[in-house]
């Protein structure tokens, strides 16, 4: 191997090959899908019906969610079993905006109160619903609600050095507590039923084909920007400290870095990305309810990332789409009763046989080939499973 005299060597580019391929695929999809939906006759074999557009849009929001998990799990070693909570909070913020847009078209026709509040005999809008009739405020809340929760939670957790499994367990307890809270009618978020029956968004009919397409393209855009942001972060000096924390947190502290602050920044960014994913998810599926907080949901996100390959970003997005496509495919057919067997088996199989995931395994294979001629006797340092 030739070593250059200058130490400006092998600084990975902002995107890298897989990043460029990933973005190209996203661009292609967000052009192709609208075209195949609008310009191709409905009876054509390549026509994409609107329900598929929404389904694909949903996958893209899941991919963004998986990306947010990969940022903290893959690069900082924080296995959050409560990421679904941030997703759901973003979703609720969007759902509250959509509820306020219904206006007098609700079943009870109250101009201010959403139907469930009329049903519960409430007379006034609770204070925390103020402002959600304005989109910019709601959009801000999509970022702030998950961001603030992550900030407070992370500040306590990281400062007192709760790490590894302990952190995973308390993040799970956090989302479980929120699940219980949002189930309560008194909380003012629609209780068990959540928020649904949306009519329009920014004045556009939420059921219309055009709106669905725009939401789809926006999801693709958000995923692309989210990817570039994560990539930028992990490449920076900041990102290198994150990986260092993942592998040897004590060493990082003794080197003079305040590890908890780095973790906190990454955790908050990750929560906000999850919130954006949730906000894009809600208008496309038309409902948000407390089940999004269930601990099982959050764990499922982890397996998407594990399947694709943690610490690769692209892999996380790929895993999310693959697993969810499989879920749609199998739960709608005769194999439906066996889906949970498959999902469970997938958890076991990936951890046992594919610990680096699809993309990670591919990288490893490529790296081995590249090194084959240079240093045959030195195996590649396998990233040890960070806790």
């Amino acid at each position: 191997m030739s070593t250059s005299p200058m130490n400006m060597t092998r600084q990975p580019a902002l995107l890298g090959t897989s990043g460029i391929i990933f973005l190209a695929v996203l661009v292609a999809v967000s052009v192709l899908v609208p075209v195949l939906n609008l310009a191709v006759a409905p009876d054509s074999a390549v026509h994409v019906p609107t329900y598929v557009v929404s389904l694909l849009g949903k996958y893209l929001t899941y991919a963004l969610l998986a990306l947010s998990v990969d940022l903290i799990w893959g690069y900082v070693g924080i296995l959050s079993l409560g990421q679904g909570a941030f997703f759901a909070l973003g979703g609720y913020a969007m759902g509250m905006y959509l509820m306020r847009q219904i206006g007098t078209r609700g079943v009870y026709g109250d101009p201010v109160l959403p139907d469930f509040m009329v049903f519960l005999n409430w007379k006034e809008l609770p204070w925390f619903w103020y402002g959600f009739d304005m989109f910019p405020f709601a959009a801000l809340m999509v970022l702030l609600a998950p961001g603030l929760l992550a900030l407070v939670f992370g500040w306590f957790a990281f400062r007192s050095r709760v790490t590894g499994v302990y952190l995973s367990i308390i993040t799970q307890a956090m989302t479980f507590a929120l699940l219980l809270a949002f189930f309560r009618n008194d909380m003012g978020f629609g209780g068990n039923n959540g928020l649904t029956d949306f009519k329009d968004i920014l004045g556009f009919n939420i059921q219309a084909d055009g709106t669905r397409l725009v939401l789809f393209v926006l999801s693709a855009l958000a995923l692309a920007l989210g990817y570039v942001l994560c990539r930028f972060l992990v490449r920076s000096h900041f990102g290198k400290v994150l990986v260092a924390i993942r592998d040897a947190e004590t060493r990082v502290r003794f080197t003079g870095y305040r590890a908890e602050n780095y973790k906190l920044v990454a955790f908050v960014v990750s929560a906000m990305l999850a919130g954006i994913a949730g906000a894009l998810y809600v208008p496309q599926v038309g409902i948000i309810n407390p089940s999004e907080f269930s601990p099982a949901n959050s764990i499922e996100i982890i397996v998407w990332v594990a399947v694709g390959g943690r610490g690769t970003l692209v892999g996380a997005a790929l895993g999310a789409v693959l697993v969810n496509y499989a879920k749609t495919y199998f739960t709608s057919g005769i194999l439906a009763p066996y889906w949970l067997f498959m999902l469970g088996g997938l958890f076991v199989a990936v951890t046992l046989f594919l610990p680096k995931g699809i993309v990670g395994t591919f990288y490893e294979w490529r790296e081995k080939r590249r090194q084959h001629d240079d240093i045959p006797d030195e195996p590649l340092a396998t990233p040890r499973p960070a806790e």
């Binding site: 191997m1 070593t3 200058m6 130490n7 400006m8 060597t9 092998r10 930028f232 972060l233 920076s236 000096h237 900041f238 290198k240 400290v241 990986v243 260092a244 993942r246 592998d247 040897a248 004590t250 060493r251 990082v252 502290r253 003794f254 080197t255 003079g256 870095y257 305040r258 590890a259 602050n261 780095y262 906190l264 920044v265 030195e378 195996p379 590649l380 340092a381 396998t382 990233p383 040890r384």
Partner: protein
């Protein structure tokens, strides 16, 4: 704990009383000042009224049997363990280290090499040094940080010193044991600390590597860094040629040149063997 117990409390009493003029002078002149430091784990006294000072620019070797409290001593100095009792001051008595955490102490200028070599295994050797290099430590500014020319030069210098220039693009985890030890010392250098605490730097090294490491540490010390080395390898300690301190059951058993310490009856009894 009979014979040593009589030794230790004597120093403890001295410190808890009104500081004697001699002690005060010691405090203001010392880079590192430990006085009557006691640490207990579940009834086990890891440190028992440990007292010693390290002067600016000094290199000190610490020897002692397993369980003598060498690693705990380093834990106390670097803020990883809080002492139950006693004072730990840095920089002429300006800073009370018992009030600070690891990060603050590292920023003050105390670097530590662990017994088990700890480098960032998934970063290249170059990135390991970049991360250690003295400079911005806060999170947000580091997102947009760019490397300066001066930093690049400094890193090249360190590479020369630790002789790893050839390996700059390899992953830290792919280095051999001895190379990892050097990389870690290099990372300490990059931090540019006033005091280096080095825990068993030559464990698992060949004789040649051991000699090179002694040379490396002497060079670092000659550059004005104070160094405290914990080591079992007596050849290495002799190579260093510095003042030696023997710990036993959490206190200083003997202090002086290697020959003086080796001649001490108690040291022979508990550590060197007859």
């Amino acid at each position: 704990m009979t014979a040593t117990a009589t030794l230790a409390p004597a120093t403890a009493e001295l410190a808890t009383a009104e500081p004697a003029p001699a002690a005060k002078k010691e405090l203001t002149e010392a880079l590192l000042y430990l006085d009557a430091v006691t640490v207990t784990f579940d009834g086990f006294r890891a440190l028992n009224a440990l007292s010693f000072t390290v002067d600016p620019g000094e290199m000190r070797a610490v020897i002692g049997p397993n369980g003598a409290g060498k690693t705990t001593m380093m834990d106390v100095i670097t803020g990883k363990t809080r002492p139950d009792r006693g004072d730990v001051f840095f920089d002429g008595g300006i800073t009370d280290l018992t009030k600070l955490d690891e990060t603050q102490i590292a920023t003050l200028g105390i670097g530590r090499k662990f017994q088990k070599p700890t480098v960032f295994e998934n970063h290249t050797v170059l990135d390991n040094l970049r991360l250690a290099l003295k400079g911005q430590r806060r999170a947000l500014p580091n997102i947009f940080r760019r490397e300066s020319a001066a930093a690049r030069e400094r890193i090249d210098e360190i590479f020369e010193t630790i002789r790893l220039t050839e390996h700059r693009d390899r992953l830290g985890g792919a280095l051999s044991h001895g190379q990892k030890q050097w990389l870690e010392i290099g990372m300490l250098l990059a931090q540019d600390p006033k005091l280096l605490l080095v825990d068993e730097p030559v464990a698992g090294m060949t004789d040649a590597e051991t000699a090179q490491t002694a040379e490396l540490l002497r060079a670092i010390n000659a550059n004005g860094h104070s160094v405290v080395v914990v080591e079992h390898d007596m050849t290495f300690v002799r190579d260093l040629g510095v003042r030696v301190m023997c710990l036993h059951e959490g206190s200083v058993l003997a202090e002086g040149t290697l020959d003086q310490v080796s001649a001490n009856e108690r040291v022979i009894e508990v550590y060197l063997g007859r």
